[in-house]
């Protein structure tokens, strides 16, 4: 009797644990069409856990868009990628990269309250996430309602960003960091594309130029995650593109001054101010080269 009871509990525990890992999932454990060569038993350079940490460390696309808006840069539709070509993307490698690009576009549209255009981006995102079998993380109906009625724009931003965060966490929890890394790379490239396009005409010392220079810190992390999969030709090509970007950053200098943190109150909230400060030294020539290489890589990705 006790043996039967033991088996029943054991089986139920297995069922429960399977249920947990397959949350919101229907037949999506099967991985996407990124070539199997990547998943061969070749060891990763860094662990999945370390990959997760690195991916978490790449800033949100919303921050770049917020900086553009905060510094008075007007909205421009010409920075956005054309969503009509999304249906032509025929591999999941291309889809994941372009999903990242579109997530940046959506962050940009949301930041400038361009809710009408959010819907066309959202339809393209729906199509890509369905193809990648991760569409379950987006409540498209709610997003559509908020966008169409132009209501509660903070909620629209929250739902959009948290949906992407949940999707990204899910991909990493289910050992699909390769897909996650492509989305992150696409997001970063598009955010940089906005920034560098604006920087073309920005006056010297503009905040956006400093933010572009600071991306030197992120580049090594991106290369680290991409190199994990460079046995695959597509990833290998992407690594080469990022090596070209990194090369343009070689002479960009980031220096630091040290200070002690202090606190002050702003709008009734305790704000800690760190007096450690970073400084970016980037010449006009270096910036021009970075603008060019980002434009080249971004245009390559959207025309894959």
């Amino acid at each position: 009797m006790f043996r039967k009871l033991f088996y029943l509990i054991f089986v139920s525990l297995i069922i429960v644990s399977c249920n947990s890992s397959n949350k919101n999932e229907e037949n999506i454990s099967e991985d996407i069409e990124i070539p199997d060569s990547i998943f061969d038993d070749k060891p990763l350079i860094i662990s999945e856990e370390a990959m997760s940490d690195i991916i978490e460390n790449i800033s949100s696309p919303v921050e770049m868009a917020a900086l553009l808006k905060e510094t008075g840069v007007p909205f421009s539709k010409k920075y956005l990628c054309d969503v009509k070509r999304i249906d032509k993307l025929n591999t999941n490698f291309k889809r994941a990269l372009n999903l990242g690009i579109l997530s940046s576009d959506m962050g940009y549209l949301n930041m400038y309250d361009k809710t009408g255009s959010v819907m066309s981006s959202m339809s393209a995102i729906k199509s890509l996430t369905d193809d990648l079998r991760i569409g379950q993380f987006f409540d498209f109906e709610t997003i559509k309602r908020l966008a169409i009625n132009h209501e509660n724009l903070d909620s629209l931003m929250y739902i959009s960003v948290s949906s992407f965060n949940n999707m990204d966490s899910y991909l990493r929890e289910t050992n699909r960091s390769d897909v996650s890394s492509l989305i992150v790379v696409g997001t970063w490239v598009e955010g940089m594309y906005f920034a560098t396009q604006v920087a073309k005409t920005a006056p010297e010392g503009h905040k956006i130029i400093e933010r572009i220079g600071e991306q030197k810190l992120i580049l090594n992390d991106i290369l680290l995650i991409l190199k994990n999969y460079q046995n695959d030709k597509h990833f290998y090509d992407l690594v080469q593109d990022f090596e070209s970007i990194k090369e343009k950053y070689n002479d960009v200098k980031i220096t630091y001054t040290v200070g002690d943190p202090e606190s002050r109150e702003i709008n009734g909230m305790l704000i800690i101010v760190t007096n450690d400060e970073s400084h970016v030294e980037i010449s006009k020539e270096q910036l021009t080269e970075i603008v060019k290489i980002i434009e080249k890589v971004r245009n390559k990705l959207i025309n894959l």
Binding site: I15, D154, M157, V161, N165, N166, I271, I272, T274
Partner: protein, 143 residues
């Protein structure tokens, strides 16, 4: 006996699904507290009671950008004794926490970043009590 087995399975299923649903729900509730700030990401923590000193914590890392004022909101899940303590560190240098000098816990605090880089976040529960919490990172829109 069959009835006992049925209840064991049912409890396991319900407990398992609720854990996820509750933390997501807590994120949604906590996001309401961020005011005019813009949501960036959330950190979910659940720790068992521990007598170890210092109490165990869950660690996260995040890139913060110069020139941005970030906001950290902390929300504790109902039904647990532990109250979350969030610490923000630059490597091992403590920059700030929601725990004030007198031991009281704030629901939120801000951080004006002057140095772009990777920062560490540690979340533990007071006196190592069992707890579950969500922390939300957002940035303040300063006009």
């Amino acid at each position: 006996m069959k009835r006992i087995i049925f209840y064991i399975i049912l409890t396991l299923f319900l407990f398992n699904n609720n854990t996820y649903a509750q933390s997501d729900e807590l994120v949604n509730v906590c996001a309401l507290d961020i005011g005019n700030a813009t949501y960036l990401k959330d950190f979910k923590v659940k720790l068992q009671q521990s007598n170890v000193k210092p109490p165990p914590c869950t660690k996260f890392s995040v890139v913060l950008n110069k020139g941005t004022i970030y906001q950290f909101n902390v929300c504790d899940a109902a039904g647990y004794e532990g109250k979350a303590i969030l610490k923000l560190l630059d490597h091992s240098k403590l920059l700030g926490s929601n725990k004030k000098g007198d031991g009281t816990l704030m629901k939120a605090f801000g951080f004006q970043c002057q140095k772009t880089g990777v920062y560490n976040i540690q979340i533990s529960f007071n006196n190592g009590k069992q707890g579950a919490a969500v922390a939300i990172l957002s940035f303040m829109n300063v006009k």
